[in-house]
Amino acid sequence: MTLTLLLDNLLSASVIAFVVAVIATLARFDLRLPDALPAILSAYLLFAIGLKGGRSLAESTLSDLVFPVIIAVLIGIATPIISWAVLRSFVRLNNIDAAGIAAHYGSVSAVTFVVVLATLDAQGMFYEGFVAGLLAILEVVGIVVGLALARSSGSSLKNVLAEVTRGRSIALLLGGILIGAVVGDARLAPTDLVFVGLFNGALTLFLLEMGRLAGERLREVVQAGWRLIAAAIALPLINGTIGAGLGALSGLSTGGIAVLATLAASASYIAAPAAVRIALPEANPALSITTALGVTFPFNITLGIPFYIALAQWLS
C-alpha cells in the first residue's frame, strides 16, 4: 500500500471536512446545515452518480456486464449473511438486532462509493462506468437478504423489495442511470457544469454533515460495547476482501475491483435504516446507525478505501 495513496485520500477535502466536523461536534460547535440542505445534497449526489454511470453505459457491451452483475448479486447475498453470522456469534446479538444490522452491512453507502470514485480519479485509475449499476444491485439485494434473515412475518419480502427499489435513493440512482444512458455522453455536456463541476464541492459539504452526525453518535458508540465496535471494523475488512476476491473473478479492471470491494465493505445508513425500521421495528435502530455511521463509515473513508485499492492492485 503506497503511502501516497493513503495520504492523498486522507487529505482530500471530503475526508478532512468529515474529520473536522466530527471534532467540532465533539467540542460542541453547532455545525448544523439548514434543514433541507443535506437532503438536497444527497439527492444531487445520487442523481449525479447515476448520470455518470449511465452515460458510460453506452460504451459497455452486454457481455461486459454479465459477470460483474452476477458477482454483484452473489456479494449482495454473501455479505449480509456473513455479517449476520459475526453479529450473532461474536457480538452475541439477538436474531432481530443481528438481522437489522446485517441488512445495513449487506447494503451499501453511496457516499463511500463516491469517495472511492474520487480517490480513483485522483490517482488516475480507470474503472468501468457501469459500477453505479452495481451499487444499485448491491443496495437492494443486501437489504432484502438481511431482512430475510430475520424471517420477518411483518412486511412480506416482496413489499420490502418494492419499497426499497422505489425509495428515493434507488429511484434517483436508477433515474440518473437511465437518463444518462439515453441522453448519452455528448448531449449531457451542457449539464456538466452542474453535475460534474459542482460534484466534489457538494460532496465536501455533505461530508461535513456526515461528520456532524457521526460526532453526535460517537458518544453512543462508546456505549455499544467493544465487541460491536470491533465487528464494525472487522466486517468491512472481511466483506471488502470477499468483494475484492469475487470482483477479481468477474473480469473487472483494477479500479472496478476496488469499487466492488468498497461497495461490499460499506454499510448503508440512508436506505437501509428506513427499510429496516418498517420491516423490523423491534430491531434497535440506534445500534445499526451508530455502528454504520459512527465506526464503519469513518473507517472506510480513511483507512478502508486505500486498503481495498491496494488489495485490488495486488489481485490484478
Binding site: P273, R277, P285
Partner: protein, 99 residues
C-alpha cells in the same frame, strides 16, 4: 353558514411511518390531511432518522367516530414498536359536511 364540532386529530410520528399513516388515514375515513416535517424528542429518546428525514406531523379534521377508529388503529398497529404520539383537539369548522 353552518358551524359544527369536529375533532382535529394530530399525529406526530417517526419519518419511516409517513406513507403508512397517510394510507391509514384515508382508509379509515379521513377526507384529507396536512403533513409537515418536524423535529423533536420523546420519552423513548428516538430521534434517529437524521438522514432519512425528520419526523412527520399529520393533522386531519374528522368526526368523533372516525377519530376513534383512527386512534384505535394507530394505537394497535404502531404504539408499541414505533415512536408515535397522537392527540385530539376539539375544533369548530365551517362546512362540516366536508369533514
Amino acid at each position: 353558514m353552518r358551524i359544527a364540532n369536529r375533532q382535529l386529530l394530530t399525529i406526530v410520528a417517526e419519518a419511516a411511518l409517513e406513507q403508512r399513516l397517510i394510507a391509514d388515514l384515508k382508509r379509515l375515513g379521513a377526507s384529507g390531511y396536512t403533513a409537515s416535517h418536524v423535529r423533536g424528542e420523546g420519552r423513548t429518546g428516538r430521534h434517529l432518522q437524521d438522514l432519512t428525514g425528520p419526523s412527520v406531523e399529520l393533522e386531519t379534521i374528522v368526526t368523533d367516530d372516525v377519530a376513534e377508529a383512527i386512534l384505535a388503529h394507530v394505537g394497535a398497529a404502531y404504539f408499541e414498536k414505533f415512536a408515535v404520539v397522537a392527540w385530539l383537539t376539539p375544533v369548530s369548522v365551517l362546512r362540516p359536511e366536508r369533514f
